[in-house]
Assembly symmetry: C2
Homo-oligomer: 328 residues x 2
């Protein structure tokens, strides 16, 4: 029997976790939990049931790790601590500024339950964070850069859709090529928000809507667009559905640092991701993290954790011997 | 008082570790240990003594971690286990095929001494291994590629210097650009040794030596050159000293994998290093690993470890709180 996983929440991310579990023979999906009517939710994995979230707490003996797939704004702050008392849990909480608060409440709940509460797993926070920490550990004298894209930002797409006269929208965050090239060349540039990323918007407007006004409303929107060079393209719903249906994303974490008694040698560490599907990749990270949470709890550990607290070997299905022989 | 470090062996790597310790305010160099006459060894750090290796075992109460800087062929297989009984130790053992054997002997010694014996730290094995393991954990269905260079291979340079008529030599390992591009494009090519790397040699020949014979001897050398497209340039000692004195290196670890129930989405994870000084970068990794070894031992852990067994937070000077607030 493999590690028994539950998925709580079945949107894009929950489906990504489900697909990832199917790729990992040491894991087994026990059930999907939803706040909707379970009969209305169809999942892909054969022979696995959909339950109402109210049923989860009766299944603590059937599930080793619950993967909480919810939004960081309103779902995870209460869901992850709630379930961390009952199960080992993994979430993808990604509001960077609120991580310390979220960590504290998950840590308290997980310690109370003797479980592992592993938060902020994914790629940023997640894989990108790991690379920032490794690069800072190895090159303490240096400068960090994180670029995102080219990829779809769902938050920005949603913000455009809230504008009057907009039917649908897709927003791409794009790194500025010249800025990336300068960083890679070790020039250590000081970059403003505008110099690092541009924003490209594909908008379906209502018939007869004032496109100029919509474009101006987008470009002037504080926090989301005002600090960026933003391009707005008006297209048809058919074009949007045909050309912009995917959820690609990615980006780069680069650290440029110096070593030597006089800082005479320069080094560039770069980590990059090119992802066809943001939710499936994030779901795959969550699945690997579920394995680690299970193993750490089996060893008697409990409490709040992030990927920074996980020895890499815990994430991989192979044994320590296999990893040393073949991957080291 | 910081973490008290000893350096055993003072070649390029030992000097790299020394320079790294100077960049880390939470570490303190206690002494350099040499098999040569200590009076003949000049180090850079002010106020720190050079000792004979025979004195090391009398200093177990003065040193928290001993960084063993020796060769993987003959030094480390006996030095690391010997000192792992007395100190927390870190080495850069890099003969991939012999890692399981080396691990077993260091593990036994470290357990006996109640110390941490952390082996094979650096960038390959080391940072590259971490990235292979993370990428495999996240994308279990995929293909790994490791490219090295452009960088100086000291083993290959030494092999050329052993040829009759050769005064000095520098060998660069170069990734084949087309192969890297194909991997990055997600084409998952099957690549032979020859298709992945080329070898470029800069050779200083004795006056009157038969350059054609030397070039042929290089190109036909089994294991080292015969399986590669190899270029040989004859240059003067002055040119070699002027243009090829550094020890740059680097490379790429790329994993190309698929997610989704039908493998419908492709993802590329790439980690790359561009290093001006291979020994200083490796020394910087060893210093961060010394911090981790110390912390793990302080928590009561002992035995053989590799970087795959270290939670990333242990490597970084900052506290867990600081990392979660600023780097996650």
């Amino acid at each position: 029997m493999g590690i028994r996983i539950g998925i709580l929440g079945y949107g894009n991310l929950g489906r990504g976790v489900e697909a990832a579990i199917a790729q990992n023979p040491d894991m087994e999906l026990v059930g999907v939990f939803t706040r909707r009517d379970p009969a209305s939710v169809k999942i892909t994995t054969k022979g696995v049931s959909v339950y109402h979230t109210d049923d989860a707490e009766k299944m603590t003996d059937k599930i080793d790790v619950m993967v909480i797939c919810g939004g960081s704004a309103t779902d995870l702050p209460h869901l992850t601590p709630k379930y961390a008392e009952l199960f080992n849990v993994v979430d993808s909480f990604d509001t960077h500024a609120n991580i310390p608060t979220h960590f504290a409440s998950v840590d308290a709940a997980a310690k109370k339950g003797g479980k592992i509460g592993l938060i902020s797993c994914g790629w940023d926070p997640g894989m990108f964070s790991l690379n920032r920490v490794y690069a800072n550990a190895v090159l303490p004298q240096g400068k960090d850069y994180t670029f995102w894209g080219r990829g779809v930002s769902q938050g920005h797409s949603d913000a455009i859709r809230r504008i009057a006269g907009v039917v649908d929208a897709r927003q791409y965050t794009c790194p500025v090529e010249g800025a990336v090239a300068s960083v890679r060349a070790g020039e250590n540039p000081e970059l403003t928000t505008r110099q690092k990323h541009t924003r490209e918007c594909f908008v379906v407007a209502e018939e007869g809507a004032d496109r100029d006004r919509i474009a101006q409303e987008i470009k002037r929107m504080p926090n989301y667009f005002a600090d960026y060079d933003t391009t707005v393209h008006f297209i048809s719903q058919e074009e949007l559905d045909r050309d912009h249906k995917g959820l690609p994303h990615g980006g780069f974490v680069i650290r440029s640092g110096k070593t030597g008694f006089d800082g005479e040698h320069q080094h560039i560490i770069e980590y990059s991701l090119k992802l066809d599907s943001n939710p499936e990749f994030t779901g795959s990270v969550l699945a690997a993290c579920a394995r680690a949470a299970y193993r750490m709890n089996q060893e008697g550990q409990s409490g709040g954790k992030t990927m920074l607290d996980i020895a890499p070997a815990y994430l991989c299905a192979q044994s320590g011997e296999e990893l040393r022989a073949h991957m080291l």
